[in-house]
């Protein structure tokens, strides 16, 4: 499952983190002890539930499947970026706080200092930073961390922001071929505490780049390339104890982590040990959560559909849930390489005809999310409200209007094409079946084609040649913002220039006018104006009938009673994994 980072920007409320929660909760060592915040549905969405500073216990995470990698240079999952704050510190980091997301300095002592019209960014590291073995963390280690992940052959999974924005990176650069770090002039380390980034063009939001896992320091001597994930050297409060790839990770406290060097991030490091079990069955994760056998579903997208039904029907269980928004939209891409979807009227027919409520039901009804009318959900700055295809007025679809569009595009009796989805995702299967049923009403026949999740982007839907040859007219998809703004949400999915031969995040949106607007947005320094441009871009994409919109995601999360200090971190749209604790010993 390839989730992208999830951000939430709640309108307004910011809560001070820490002991003094507004309900006056005291630290508790037993679940539901008197004085702790009472269980209630959505109690942890914008506030901290059962705040605590009590250390101890083992926090048990579980996950259906696996994520790409624990190597900070090779991962693109929101859950991973959330979790790695336990074993890696980056230049800046999203603070562990409820309410609104905020980037704070982590390894750096302050946020970045721009110069040269925001094409140069300088950071100074704090004192006393150490790796797990006691060796000091220097700017060279941070540079190395960024430099090594530029090699996308060794590390194919992570984002490519540094590749795209750093100035003068030699073509095919790899620290494994060119051992001389000084050859990478885009990053300077004049002394052990200073690091300077040089960009190709201005980018005012560089602090967002600085919180990417890529800036986690990696000691050169211990780097084993693609094998580094077997023992990542920690710069955070925990270090890896045992690593059984695909099965289990266990982490223990890092004796060389000094909390005094980490005053702003909000990390609490409450548990003594952390364990992560992988490859579990999705329904079993939920069952074990409810049974008290697991503490957190690290997947962070909520419970399964069946569990949702069970929980909502039970009053007690319902109080232990949080239905949280996240900056993620489930949608499908219409492939303009596959006729007759190259004709905009044929695409509009599809968009008018499909059952919006059916798409919503595939994701669990209202609990699963709100029917989307744009790509960006309302919480992302730049969101623009429009409804081009009658989602509000005719949510089950408008057959008449659709048929009119079909006539316009020369296919009055409909046409046939294929729809692809990730085989291991029952909600995507339900989406495909729903679209198949509703589009059949206008004569559009869809043949359903599941593909393995692991290779979906490398070999199938994300490979334009394959998609075209196999007539994948509709590709079920979804996307969450890398960070909360228009660039963070849209750049990787609507910019035609990020399309590669394989492994794509943009599955086929190619609109030259949109590309031009994106460039304009990057150059616009005024935030309001910039956000407005992104809103327009969203509208243009929809006017071009490029996407079948599904839902703006909400997840139904379950939190067992023994979790302390639990809250949704709006930066990830999941429970915060770096501040959470357990009262079980």
């Amino acid at each position: 499952m390839m989730q992208k980072r999830m951000m939430t920007v709640a309108a307004g409320a910011v809560l001070a983190l820490g002991l003094s929660a507004c309900s006056g909760g005291t630290t508790s060592t037993t679940p539901t002890a008197a004085g702790g915040t009472a269980d209630a549905a959505n109690a942890a969405v914008t506030k901290v539930l059962r705040p605590s500073t009590t250390k101890g216990g083992t926090l048990r995470f579980g996950m259906p499947g696996d994520w790409d990698s624990v190597d900070p240079g090779d991962t693109y999952y929101g859950l991973s970026w959330n979790f790695l704050r336990n074993y890696a510190r980056t230049l800046t980091v999203f603070k562990s706080t409820a309410g609104a997301p905020v980037v704070v300095p982590d390894l750096a002592e302050a946020l970045g200092v721009p110069s040269d019209n925001a094409t140069t960014w300088t950071y100074k590291l704090r004192d006393g930073l150490k790796f797990e073995d006691g060796s000091p963390i220097t700017s060279a280690d941070v540079k190395y961390g960024v430099a090594r992940q530029l090699d996308k052959d060794t590390f194919p999974n992570g984002p490519t922001y540094f590749n795209d924005f750093l100035k003068d990176v030699p073509k095919g650069y790899s620290v494994y071929k060119d051992k001389n770090l000084a050859d990478l002039k885009s990053i300077e380390t004049p002394d052990a505490k200073t690091i300077i980034f040089h960009l190709k063009s201005s980018f005012a939001g560089f602090d967002f780049f600085a919180q990417l896992p890529a800036t986690a320091p990696v000691p050169v001597a211990k780097d084993t390339g693609a094998k580094y994930k077997e023992h990542v050297v920690s710069s955070g409060p925990y270090m890896f104890d045992t690593v059984s790839l695909g099965k289990k990770y266990t982490l223990k406290r890092n004796p060389n982590y000094d909390p005094k060097t980490d005053p702003e991030s909000g990390r609490l490091a409450l548990p003594d040990n952390i364990s992560v079990e992988l490859g579990l069955n999705a329904p079993d994760v939920d069952n074990r959560l409810i049974a008290g056998d697991l503490d957190v579903d690290i997947n962070g997208s909520g419970v399964q559909a069946a569990t949702q039904g069970k929980i909502l029907a039970d009053a007690t269980l319902k109080t232990k849930t949080d239905n949280a928004n996240s900056a993620r939209t489930w949608f499908s891409v219409l492939n303009t390489d596959v006729p007759p979807l190259n004709n905009v009227d044929c695409r509009k027919a599809v968009l008018l005809a499909y059952d919006k409520t059916g798409y919503q039901r595939a994701y669990g009804g209202a609990i699963g999310g709100d029917i989307a009318t744009s790509l960006m959900p309302p919480m992302v700055p730049g969101y623009k409200s429009f409804d081009l295809y009658e989602a509000k007025t005719k949510p089950t679809g408008d057959v008449t209007a659709a048929k009119a569009e079909l006539a316009k595009c020369g296919q009055p009796n409909g046409f046939a094409t294929n729809i692809s989805y990730r085989a291991e995702r029952p909600k995507e299967k339900a989406t495909a079946e729903s679209l198949q049923q509703s589009l059949a009403k206008i004569g559009v026949t869809l043949t359903i084609k599941p593909y393995p999740t692991g290779d979906y982007f490398k070999l199938y839907a994300g490979k334009p040649d394959f998609a075209k040859t196999n007539k994948l007219g509709i590709m079920v998809y979804g996307w969450g913002a890398d960070w909360p703004d228009g660039f963070g949400f849209l750049s990787q999915i609507v910019d035609s220039r990020v399309i590669r031969p394989a492994g794509n995040t943009n599955l086929g949106i190619k609109i030259p006018a949109v590309d031009a607007q994106i460039d304009k947005a990057l150059a616009t320094t005024d935030i309001t104006a910039r956000n407005a441009i992104w809103g327009n871009i969203d509208q243009m994409v929809n006017e071009n009938a490029s996407v079948v919109l599904g839902v703006w995601t909400k997840g139904l999360f379950y939190r067992p009673d023994n979790l302390t200090n639990v809250f949704i971190n709006p930066a990830f749209g999941q429970y915060d994994y770096a501040a959470i604790g357990t009262s079980k010993k």
């Binding site: 069952n287 559909a305 069946a306 039904g309 039901r361 009804g365 029952p426 049923q437």
Partner: protein, 318 residues
């Protein structure tokens, strides 16, 4: 002493009964087996006439009825999985499809695949089994080794891996038909040693019997002996073991579709329906029943009939 019946009946013919007729009589007397046979016929007819039956008693198998599903819990509003006069077996969670019609259409696939696969197995198995048993020597050794190799494969893994990479077009078929064809081939092709062993054994014992010797001494050539002497005597075990192979193939096909191999959604298969039911057993356990019971009843019926057939043809094993 009372006169024998034949005399009492007067000038009628005293007929000896053939083995087949005796077997048939025994079979008819076996009520359990006849019930099984009756159910089998009923199921085959239901599958054949599925479109008609569904037209009258049900709804199209892929049609959504989401108005009958609770949007929040994703399960049917009505209890017992949404059973009602209009939806005899209830409806599926999330989309509300009619389970009665899906079970019937699933029967088509299960029976089709199982029967055709059995025919392939029996075909290959008989040919190779007879050849091995009759010609003996090196031929027998070779074929027996072949059987060993086939039996040494972990069949399910193999079938899964093979079925997972079926291309879209091949051998003049495409889409679901191609997938069904490949599954039939895989099941049939890998199951032949089961029949092959038995036929080989039977051939070995038949070969030594007098009538074969007699035929040979009369100058009969191999083809004659094979087709006119051996094969008729092999028909009985072939029939019995085919009937017993079909239920095992039904289970195999269900296993494959349970694991996600074979025809694609939204086509209904019994195994696929059970696989879907896995995530819902806590909130809609009734969803497990239609497909599961369908498999059970079908396989049981075939087993009952097959057992009865075997007993009728060879009463010692009763």
């Amino acid at each position: 002493m009372a006169p024998p019946e034949a005399v009492l009946k007067g000038p009628g013919k005293i007929e000896g009964r053939s083995l087949g007729q005796i077997a048939l009589m025994r079979l008819r007397r076996d009520k359990v087996a006849m019930t099984g046979g009756g159910v089998v016929i009923f199921l085959i007819l239901s599958a054949l006439f599925a479109p008609l039956i569904v037209g009258v008693l049900g709804h199209p198998p892929n049609e959504f009825h989401q108005e009958l599903i609770n949007a929040d819990t994703q399960v049917p509003f009505k209890p017992w999985g949404g059973v009602s006069p209009s939806f005899l077996f209830g409806i599926e969670p999330v989309n509300g499809r009619d389970l009665f019609s899906r079970v019937l259409y699933g029967a088509q696939i299960s029976l089709l695949i199982a029967t055709l696969a059995t025919m392939i197995s029996v075909g290959i198995g008989t040919v190779l089994g007879v050849t091995a048993g009759y010609f003996g020597g090196r031929v027998d050794s070779f074929i027996s080794r072949l059987m060993d190799i086939f039996l040494a494969f972990p069949l399910l893994v193999f079938a899964l891996a093979l079925a997972g990479v079926i291309p879209d077009h091949a051998f003049g078929l495409s889409g679901d038909s191609l997938k069904i064809g490949v599954i039939i081939f895989i099941i049939g092709f890998f199951n032949w040693p089961y029949i092959g062993r038995i036929i080989r054994g039977q051939t070995l014992s038949l070969r030594e019997r007098e009538f074969v010797d007699a035929a040979r001494s009369l100058g009969a050539r191999h083809p004659y002996i094979l087709f006119k002497e051996l094969l008729p005597n092999l028909l009985a075990p072939i029939l019995v073991y085919s009937t017993l192979l079909i239920p095992s193939n039904i289970l195999f096909e269900a296993a494959l579709s349970y694991l996600g191999v074979g025809v694609q959604p939204p086509r209904a298969t019994w195994g696929g329906m059970l696989s879907d039911a896995t995530q819902w057993y806590q909130v809609d356990p009734e969803f497990i029943l239609p497909a599961g019971l369908a498999i059970f009843v079908t396989v049981l019926a075939f087993n009952l009939f097959g057992d009865g057939l075997r007993d009728a043809l060879d009463p010692r094993s009763r």
